[in-house]
């Protein structure tokens, strides 16, 4: 797997969340994603950025354009040093169906992405990585 380009952005405020959306959109356009694919990855990024800011107390996101066997993708890695998630399985469910209640948006972000990986420990922050392949 090859890394073509990377950029790191802070997620420390609501304005940062908007900036992240716009940056992800620009990268997705450059990678040649279709409009629907762009919308999905930007929306997933919005969910995860909000999580990092609202639940994680702030953090950062790394945008990477990657390539493997001739296929290009956009990889986003969100990190926060917040309280972490106690029950990841449950948290993934909360984002589902209603979208009401707490809805951590994790389940949604997963459904909108090609690949999804999460690591979190109570007291040790949260790390979420998604990839959208072209």
């Amino acid at each position: 797997m090859a890394l073509l380009r990377s950029e790191k952005l802070p997620v420390e405020s609501q304005d940062d969340v908007v900036q992240v959306r716009q940056a992800v959109r620009a990268w997705a356009v450059e990678l040649g994603f279709s409009l629907v694919e762009q919308t999905k990855v930007v929306t997933a990024a919005s969910e995860l950025a909000r999580n990092a800011f609202v639940h994680g107390g702030g953090g950062s996101v790394e945008l990477e354009s990657i390539e493997t066997a001739g296929r290009r993708g956009l990889r986003l890695t969100f990190v926060d040093h917040g309280p972490g998630i106690v029950d990841i399985e449950q948290a993934m469910k909360d984002g589902y169906t209603t979208g009401g209640g707490l809805g951590l948006g994790l389940g949604g972000a997963k459904r909108l992405s090609s690949d999804f990986e999460i690591r979190s420990q109570p007291g040790a922050g949260t790390w979420v990585r998604i990839v959208r392949w072209k």
Partner: protein, 132 residues
């Protein structure tokens, strides 16, 4: 502080969201709309999202909240102009916004609001033209 302008059209309020909203702005809109519904004694709210390229779970919930609150205040809400890519993404996200009425565009949305108002005012079998 930036706010989204709310226009009054007869008994209806018209909102057009043209910017990439951050959460604070969405909450402000929610507050402003409910306040205006009461102040203007509005019977309907039309929210035009044809310029919104992203509707995530927070904005989706906000739209749902606005619809629910308006209903309690005796006003009907219609959201119009959702872009196809946004609709597909929302559905994939798991939000169907089932408590929110929708229409293709402003014209249709107004028709929905007017019909709903007529029904409320005892329309149907030729009321006394009480529709706005």
């Amino acid at each position: 502080m930036e706010r989204i302008p709310i226009l009054k059209m007869g008994e209806f309020l018209l909102v057009s969201i043209q910017v990439d909203m951050h959460d604070r702005l969405a909450m402000t809109l929610q507050d402003d709309l409910t306040a205006q519904i009461v102040k203007q004694r509005a019977r309907g709210v039309l929210i035009d999202i044809s310029s919104l390229e992203i509707v995530d779970s927070f904005i989706g919930r906000t739209l749902g909240n606005i619809a629910a609150m308006s209903r309690i205040l005796d006003a009907e809400t219609v959201v119009v102009g959702m872009q196809p890519a946004v609709a597909i993404t929302l559905v994939e996200l798991g939000m169907s916004l089932s408590g929110v009425r929708t229409a293709l565009n402003v014209e249709r949305g107004m028709a929905v609001l007017q019909a709903s108002l007529a029904a409320d005012n005892g329309g149907g079998a030729g009321g006394d033209g009480a529709a706005a």
